[in-house]
């Protein structure tokens, strides 16, 4: 294959024979590579954020909500109709509104959501939220062994509150600590693990003793409780009001008579007032507030979710809001075919709404949160707006460097023309140099960006530790959730591929254009004057 001679010379000026690479071209290529890398990484990470928020939002409210135009009792029929559609995976009705809650002198007005116990967790990953929100007690001679609260422990008199509400009221769910010196506190030494702690378990000291075989004994002096029990599939449970344990005897050989001591702390109770109750109270009707226990503290990763929030059972809300049989809306979850693409989801919601538009609106998640995504998009565009001039500065640097080369090579340029090179070809040497710099820089930049994406967690935690220190790391990481930020590779998503391609092409275009001025200069030169040049 014959290489066109201007390309040959352009290449050789960047990579001269017998030298690895010219200093100028190395710098220029690195410059372009860094620029391309930064642009790709910023945009890819912004997309990652969008993706992450999207997941969080869907977790917090499902793929869509069916909202009745007025409070309705007609929802069970609709729920059934929707569930008959094979694309609908879950439908969960909810009641929602502010409730006044009180603990002693402290009060709060959380947005309260009553969810259907059976279908609610199929839409909301409540267990996940509870895990995120759990707080541990610190003690010198004891360790907090409270199991994660479970959404299934929600009853009509048990609620979950957000961290904000918990802090405001100074409430917490029940806790259980194992007493003893820290070196004895490994599960393996005790041979049992706390499995569940019902919110009804009172504050007390408990002793759990191994009697041999499958026999165990749980007693509490303060409660005058003493019961023998047998392990049932490894589960030890002495009945309501006591903690449940799990025997880990496959891991340890228990000694007969071995015992360990636990201290339980009763979960806080709060009083719930509803607007209806307050109205009745004003009419001098005596209405006692509803007492509920705190089953757990949750944390919803979606920042747009109300900070002051409470999740209880549908029936609790029905009761305190005097809304028997009513519903404020339904959380919907669809099959991936529908939910993966916003257009399909939008179309599907419209399809569902059309025959029912008199009574119901079907609102997809991204419509409800459009403000937020518009904000993210705006930030992304702002970034590009900032980066493009930086790219142009880099282009100027390349143009200047190539211009210097042209000036340095004036006599050579004259000679090339004298040897029969067409002016256009001579000029194109410099344009091609710009192109090659752009091309190699873009390739290197894409490679760098891949490395960045590959090692984003290590890079991020390195930076975070440097700036925030080890202490701050957990806080920052929790907020940004970098450890679960998904940034797809270009071969995994067409969106990512187009990001890579766009910025690579941008870099190539800009540096080719940067070569254009020097090229024009060179081709316009009078060869006789060029040869005379000193």
């Amino acid at each position: 294959m014959k290489i066109p001679w201007p390309l040959f010379l352009a290449w050789k000026q960047l990579f001269p024979t017998q030298r690895k690479v010219s200093f100028f071209s190395l710098l220029a290529i690195i410059g372009v590579a860094l620029g391309v890398n930064v642009m790709i990484v910023v945009v890819a990470f912004m997309k990652g954020f969008q993706h992450k928020f999207r997941e969080d939002i869907i977790d917090a409210q499902g793929h869509a909500r069916a909202i009745p135009l007025s409070r309705t009792r007609e929802w069970p029929q609709l729920q059934q109709e929707l569930l008959n559609n094979s694309e609908v995976l879950a439908v969960s009705p909810y009641l929602q509104g502010p409730l006044l809650v009180q603990k002693g002198d402290y009060h709060s007005v959380p947005l309260s959501i009553g969810i259907d116990l059976s279908s609610g967790t199929s839409v909301l990953p409540l267990d996940e939220f509870l895990k995120n929100g759990q707080m541990r007690m610190e003690a010198h001679d004891a360790v907090d062994v409270t199991p994660f609260p479970q959404s299934k422990s929600m009853e009509d008199d048990v609620v979950f509150v957000s961290q904000y509400v918990a802090n405001r009221l100074g409430v917490r769910p029940g806790a259980i600590l194992r007493m003893g010196k820290s070196k004895d506190l490994k599960d393996e030494l005790v041979g049992v693990r706390v499995l569940e702690l019902g919110s009804e378990v009172p504050s007390a000291e408990w002793k759990l003793q191994y009697l041999g075989g499958e026999e165990w004994r749980l007693k509490s002096k303060g409660l005058e409780f003493d019961a023998k029990m047998r392990a049932n599939n490894g589960r030890l449970y002495a009945g309501p009001g006591t903690p449940a344990f799990e025997v880990l005897n496959d891991r340890i050989k228990l000694e007969i008579g071995a015992e360990s001591t636990y201290q339980t702390f009763r979960s806080s109770t709060i009083e719930v007032f509803s607007p209806v109750m307050i109205k009745r109270a004003q009419a001098n009707e005596m209405v006692p507030p509803k007492e509920v226990r705190i089953g757990g503290i949750f944390e919803v990763p979606w920042q747009g979710f109300h900070a002051e929030a409470m999740i209880g059972s549908y029936r609790l809300l029905e009761d305190v809001r005097d809304a028997t049989g009513l519903c404020d809306g339904m959380f919907l979850k669809f099959s991936p075919q529908i939910s993966n693409h916003e257009e399909t989801l939008h179309g599907f919601c419209e399809e569902l709404q059309l025959p029912r538009s008199v009574n119901w609106a079907f609102v997809p998640w991204f419509v409800e949160n459009a403000w937020f995504f518009d904000l993210l998009k705006f930030e992304e565009y702002l970034m590009i707006l900032i980066m493009v001039p930086i790219g142009l500065v880099a282009a100027f640097a390349i143009a200047i460097a190539l211009m210097t080369t042209v000036l340095r090579k004036i006599r050579e340029i004259g000679l090339l023309v004298a040897m029969g090179g067409a002016r256009g070809s001579v000029g194109s040497i410099f344009c091609l140099q710009g192109f090659l710099i752009g091309l190699l820089g873009a390739i290197a930049g894409c490679g760098l960006a891949l490395l960045f994406i590959r090692y984003r967690d290590s890079i991020m935690s390195f930076i975070v530790v440097r700036i925030a220190g080890d202490e701050g790391k957990s806080g920052v990481a929790q907020f940004y959730d970098f450890y679960s930020l998904s940034v797809p590779y270009p071969w995994e998503s067409s969106e990512s591929a187009s990001t890579f391609l766009t910025f690579a092409l941008f870099a190539i275009l800009v540096s080719t254009l940067a070569g254009l001025v020097p090229a024009w200069r060179a081709s316009r030169m009078n060869p006789a004057d060029a040869l005379r040049n000193e």
Binding site: K2, W5, F8, L9, K12, Q13, P16, T17, Q18, S22, R411, E412, G414, L415, L416, V417, A418, M419, G420, G421, A422, S425, N526, P527, A528, L531, R532
Partner: protein
């Protein structure tokens, strides 16, 4: 037109404007170069020798005049056309006082560069380049870079490069001007020898009387006129 002439110039005139006044460098110069012959041009510094070569190579535009390369008749008062440029690449070879080797290329790549420009580059060209370098006595330097060569060696490489496309005319502008006397003689011998070997006609600009006398015809440029000596 005499077909045994490889290059012929008629009535070439060139003026440079120096602000207010004009500098008449060449006045109606006639020149005829038979095939496979050599011609030397001497003259005082600044008399227009380089300018004349530039006009003959169509690198510079004349005020008036005509020029024939082989059978192509050209008007010199206009810039070189695409075809003329293309023909120049194979018709002419040029050697200058300064060698103008491309520093990023090694010797072999420098010598074969004109063949790349005319699109004739292929492996056989490299063989020819090695042959020419051998002839010039720098056969062992073909993979060196120009920066590591002596002045004499560079000029030999430049001559090899000028000959690579088998040009019919070689224009040499003080090719020994930068060399000491002995090296200059060596290079000049090689140049003359290679030209007769290759059948190329030579126009040699030089200040050195001995070199000038080694050519078939000697001319002297003064006052814008070219006179046979």
């Amino acid at each position: 037109m005499n077909s045994s002439l490889v290059l012929q110039a008629k009535n070439l005139s060139k003026t440079f404007s120096l602000g207010a006044e004009d500098l008449y460098v060449l006045k109606e110069i006639d020149l005829a170069l038979p095939r496979s012959s050599s011609l030397s041009i001497r003259g005082e510094s600044g008399c227009g020798k380089t300018t004349l070569l530039n006009l003959l190579a169509r690198i510079e535009q004349a005020d008036r005049g005509e020029l024939t390369w082989n059978h192509r008749l050209m008007r010199c008062d206009r810039p070189a056309t695409r075809e003329e440029v293309a023909q120049r690449a194979s018709f002419l070879g040029v050697v200058y006082q300064a060698y103008y080797l491309v520093p990023e290329l090694d010797v072999l790549e420098n010598v074969t560069l004109p063949a790349r420009i005319t699109g004739r580059f292929d492996p056989s060209i490299e063989d020819r380049a090695r042959f020419l370098l051998e002839q010039m006595g720098v056969g062992n330097k073909s993979s060196q870079i120009p920066g590591k060569l002596s002045g004499g060696e560079r000029q030999r490489v430049a001559i090899a490069r000028a000959l690579i496309n088998r040009p019919e005319v070689l224009l040499a502008d003080e090719p020994t001007g930068n060399l000491d006397e002995r090296t200059g003689e060596e290079v000049m011998d090689l140049l003359l020898h290679a030209c007769s070997e290759e059948g190329a006609s030579l126009i040699l600009v030089t200040h050195n009387l001995a070199f000038a006398q080694a050519t078939d015809r000697q001319t002297f440029l003064s006052g814008g006129q070219l006179n046979e000596v």
